[in-house]
Amino acid sequence: MTVLYSCPFVPAEWIAAHGLRPSRVTVRPAHATAPGLGVGVCPYANAFLQEVSVPGNGAAVVFTTTCDQMRRISERMDPGQPVFVMHVPTTWQTTAAQRLYRDELLRLGRFLEGLGGRPPSPERLADTMIAFDEARAKLRDARGALSPRQFSEAIAHFHHTGQVSLPANATPASSPGVPLALAGGPMMSHHFDLFDLIEQHGGAIVLDATTTGERSLPPPFDRRALRDDPIGELAGAYFGHIPDAFRRPNSRLYTWLRDAVAERGIRGIILRHYLWCDTWHAEVQRMREWDLVPVLALHAEQDESLGIRTTARLQAFLEMLL
C-alpha cells in the first residue's frame, strides 16, 4: 500500500521499514476548489486534498499539524480512505516536545500496522534508514553537477518515489548567475518553471530552501547511534534538525539560512508563499528586516503560470543584484 503525505516531518524510512510505500506527493495544480472548502482556503491545501483523495486509489494519507489548514482539511477526506493526523510539535526546545514527536512516530507505526504493515525490528529499521541516508547523500553529491532545476526536481522525485533518479543530460548552469536562495512552503509540480525564469534573468538558485527542497532533507544519521537506538536517531534527525517557519520560536530557520547564505555566497532570497499561508507570509517582512541579503516576495498561486507580474518583479530584483 502507498502512504501519501506532504510534510517533511513524516520520515519516509519509517513507512518503508513497515513494508509500505512512502510517497511525499508532488502536488499538481487544482483548477477548482474542492467541495466543502470556503473562501480563504490555501491553494496548496486544496490541491493536495484533490491529489490524494482519488476514490479507489487504495492509498492511505498522513496529515500533520505543521499547517492549520492541512490539519483541518484532513476532515474533508472520504471516510472510506485511511487517514492519520500526526501531531508534529510546534515547540522544540523541551524534552517533552521531542518525546511527543517520538511518541507520534510510534503511533504512526501502529496506524501503519493497521494497514498491513509489519513492525520493523531495530535491525530492519536501521538498514532502511541507511538505505535512505545513502540515497540522500547521493542526491546531495549531485548538487553541483545538475542545474538548479534538475537538482530540485531530483529531490522532489526522491520524495515522491523513494528513488534517486538523476537526469542523463545533466546540465549544470553554463554561466554562473547571481546566487540566490528560494525559500517558502512546498512547490507544486508546475512551480519548477520558476527556476528557468530566474536563470533567464541572470540568477541561479543555489539553495532550495522550500519545503520540497534541500531544507527538508534530514542530516546524515549518526551510524553508531542508529544501531543503538534507531527510532531515537530517526526522531532526532527529523525533529531535531529540519528548520521550518512553523516552529516556535523559529530562530533555527534563520540560523540555518544565515549559515547557508555565508557558505554559498548567496546574494538574495526569493520567498514564495501561497495566499492564505500565514506561516510563511509572516516571515517576509521579518526576513527583510533581518537585512542579511535582499528579499523578494512572490505569491504562489494555485493556477500560477509565471505571469508578467512575477517576471517583472524577478527581473527588477535581479537587475538590482547584478
Binding site: 470556503g38 492549520d68 501502529r110 516556535r248
Partner: protein, 472 residues
C-alpha cells in the same frame, strides 16, 4: 425607577444615566455615562444599541476601562501577564497568585471595531508585513508597538500547536521584534485509540490520558514562569482556590446563559451577553469585580424572566451563533432583523465549562486546556454545537467567519453539514470585518434569508403539530 427593558442609543443612555444618578444609583469607581468613552476614540459606541439596565451600564463601563485597571495594577506593584491564545487557562493560574494580573492581548482584535479604525493598529500591522490576509487579531501587533492600549506585560505566554496559524504567525512576528514569549503547546486533540487510556474533558470531549499528561507538563512550565515573576511559589492549594473562584464566574455565567438564551421573550440582548461571555476568559483584569458585574447582570435577567419581560419583542427567531464577530454592531443587526441569540460557540466554550474541582488542580487545568475547541477536529465542535442547540432550542445557525482566519476556510462546511444532517435547521455563513458598514446590506440580506427560512420552518412544524427538532 421602573423601566421597561429595551434597547436604547448611546444618547438615550446618557439621559438615562443622569436620571439614575439623580435617583441615587450607586456607581463603581469606573462608572459614569457611556458617552465619555467616545472622546477617547471609541467611535463605534454611538452606532450601537444597548440594554437599558444599570447592570448593562456597569458591564460596558467595566469592559471599556480595562486599560485603567492594568495601569493601576502596575502602579500597585503587581506583575502583568499577557496570556495569548489560550482563552481561559493561564489567567486562572495567574489570578491564583495575589501578585499577578493577567490580561488578554488578543482582545485588541476589537479595537479596530470599537475605535472605527481610527487607532491605526491595522496600519501598524500592515507595516510589519501582516496584512489583511491575516485575522483581525493582527491589531494586537499595533497595540504592542504603540503601547497605547495596554501596558507591555512582564510575562507573555502563547499557546501554540493545534491552534490557528494566524495567531501563531503574528505572535512569532512579535517575538521577532524582541518581545520574549513563553510558548506552550497543545497537541491536536484526537480520539483515543482502541485500548488507550482516556479521560473525559470538561464539556464532554474525550481525549487520551497521554495528551492530558503532556499539557499538564506544559502548564507546569507556565506555572514556574508565573511563580518566577510573582516572586513566590504558586502552590496547588493556591491554584485550587483560583479554580474555585473561576468556577464561581463560570457558574454565574452558566445560569445567565441558560436564562438569557432560553427565556421567552429574550431578557438580555446579544451584545451584552457576548461581552459577559468574554469576561470569563480573563476576568477583564479584575476577577472579583468581574464576578460582581456578572452577579448584577444575572440579577437583572432573573428579575426580567420572573416578570415575563424582555428586552426584545417576543417571537424572535432563536439563533445559535458560531465564532465571535469582529464588528460588534452585527449582533445588533441580527436583532433588528428579527432574530435573537439562543446559544453561542464563540471559540472559547472551554472557558465557560466548570473546571473539575475533584482533581489535582494542574490535572484539571490541563483537561480544560485540551477541551479548547480549536485544538480538536471541527467535527467535535459541530457535535457540541448540536448538543447546545438542543439545550437552547435554537431554530437557525449563523457561522460568522473571521476574515483571514485559518480555521474558517474549512469549518463552515463541517458545521453546516453536521447541523443540517442531524437537526435539519437552516445554517448560513457570513463574514464580518472589523467595521462591517460597507458589508451591512449583504450581511443583512443573508440574515433576513436565514430568519425567513427559520420562520417558515416554524410555521410548517406548527401546522403539522410537530415539535421543533432540536435534540441530537
Amino acid at each position: 425607577m421602573n423601566r421597561t427593558p429595551e434597547q436604547i442609543s448611546l444618547h438615550e443612555w446618557d439621559r438615562l444615566h443622569d436620571d439614575l444618578v439623580a435617583a441615587g444609583l450607586p456607581q463603581p469607581s469606573y462608572g459614569g455615562p457611556l458617552s465619555r468613552h467616545v472622546p477617547d476614540g471609541d467611535l463605534r459606541l454611538p452606532r450601537l444599541r444597548y440594554d437599558n439596565s444599570p447592570a448593562a451600564l456597569r458591564l460596558w463601563n467595566f469592559l471599556l476601562t480595562e486599560e485603567d485597571r492594568l495601569a493601576a495594577a502596575r502602579t500597585e506593584g503587581k506583575q502583568l501577564v499577557g496570556t495569548m491564545k489560550d482563552l481561559g487557562t493561564v489567567p486562572v493560574m495567574a489570578y491564583s497568585s495575589p501578585s499577578l494580573v493577567a490580561f488578554y492581548p488578543d482582545g485588541a482584535w476589537w479595537i479596530p471595531c470599537v475605535m472605527e479604525l481610527s487607532a491605526g493598529l491595522l496600519e501598524v500591522a500592515d507595516s510589519l508585513g501582516i496584512d489583511e490576509s491575516f485575522c483581525p487579531v493582527r491589531a494586537m501587533l499595533g497595540a504592542f508597538l504603540t503601547e497605547a492600549h495596554f501596558p507591555i506585560p512582564d510575562l507573555l505566554t502563547c499557546n501554540v500547536g493545534a491552534t490557528c496559524d494566524d495567531f501563531s504567525a503574528i505572535a512569532q512576528r512579535l517575538n521577532g521584534l524582541g518581545y520574549p514569549i513563553l510558548w506552550w503547546e497543545s497537541p491536536h486533540r484526537r480520539a483515543p485509540d482502541p485500548g488507550e487510556a482516556s479521560v473525559e474533558l470538561p464539556g464532554g470531549f474525550v481525549a487520551p490520558e497521554a495528551q492530558v499528561a503532556f499539557v499538564h507538563d506544559e502548564l507546569e512550565r507556565v506555572r514556574r514562569a508565573l511563580a518566577h515573576i510573582a516572586g513566590r511559589t504558586i502552590t496547588d492549594a493556591m491554584l485550587a482556590e483560583g479554580i474555585t473562584t473561576a468556577n464561581k464566574v463560570r457558574s454565574t455565567l452558566d445560569e445567565l446563559r441558560r436564562l438569557a438564551y432560553a427565556a421567552e421573550p429574550c431578557p438580555m440582548p446579544a451584545l451584552e451577553m457576548l461581552i459577559a461571555e468574554m469576561l470569563a476568559i480573563h476576568f477583564c483584569s479584575d476577577r472579583d469585580e468581574c464576578l460582581a458585574v456578572l452577579d448584577e447582570l444575572l440579577a437583572e435577567v432573573r428579575s426580567r424572566v420572573d416578570a415575563g419581560l424582555g428586552a426584545l419583542a417576543g417571537g424572535a427567531v432563536r439563533v445559535f451563533w458560531v465564532n465571535p464577530v469582529a464588528d460588534l454592531r452585527v449582533m445588533n443587526m441580527l436583532e433588528q432583523a428579527g432574530g435573537r441569540i439562543c446559544g453561542t460557540e464563540y471559540l472559547f466554550c472551554h472557558a465557560l465549562d466548570p473546571i473539575p474541582e475533584d482533581l489535582p488542580p494542574m490535572e484539571a487545568l490541563a483537561r480544560m486546556a485540551l477541551a479548547d475547541p480549536m485544538t480538536g477536529p471541527t467535527a467535535d465542535r459541530a457535535d457540541r454545537i448540536c448538543r447546545d442547540i438542543g439545550l437552547f432550542g435554537s431554530e437557525a445557525v449563523v457561522v460568522s467567519q473571521i476574515p483571514g482566519a485559518s480555521h474558517c476556510a474549512t469549518e463552515g462546511a463541517v458545521i453546516r453539514d453536521t447541523v443540517g444532517a442531524r437537526l435539519g435547521i437552516p445554517v448560513t455563513e457570513i463574514e464580518v470585518p472589523p467595521v462591517a458598514d460597507a458589508m451591512a446590506p449583504t450581511i443583512r440580506n443573508r440574515l433576513d434569508a436565514l430568519l425567513e427560512t427559520a420562520r417558515a420552518r416554524r410555521e410548517t412544524l406548527s401546522a403539522t403539530h410537530e415539535p421543533v427538532r432540536t435534540t441530537t
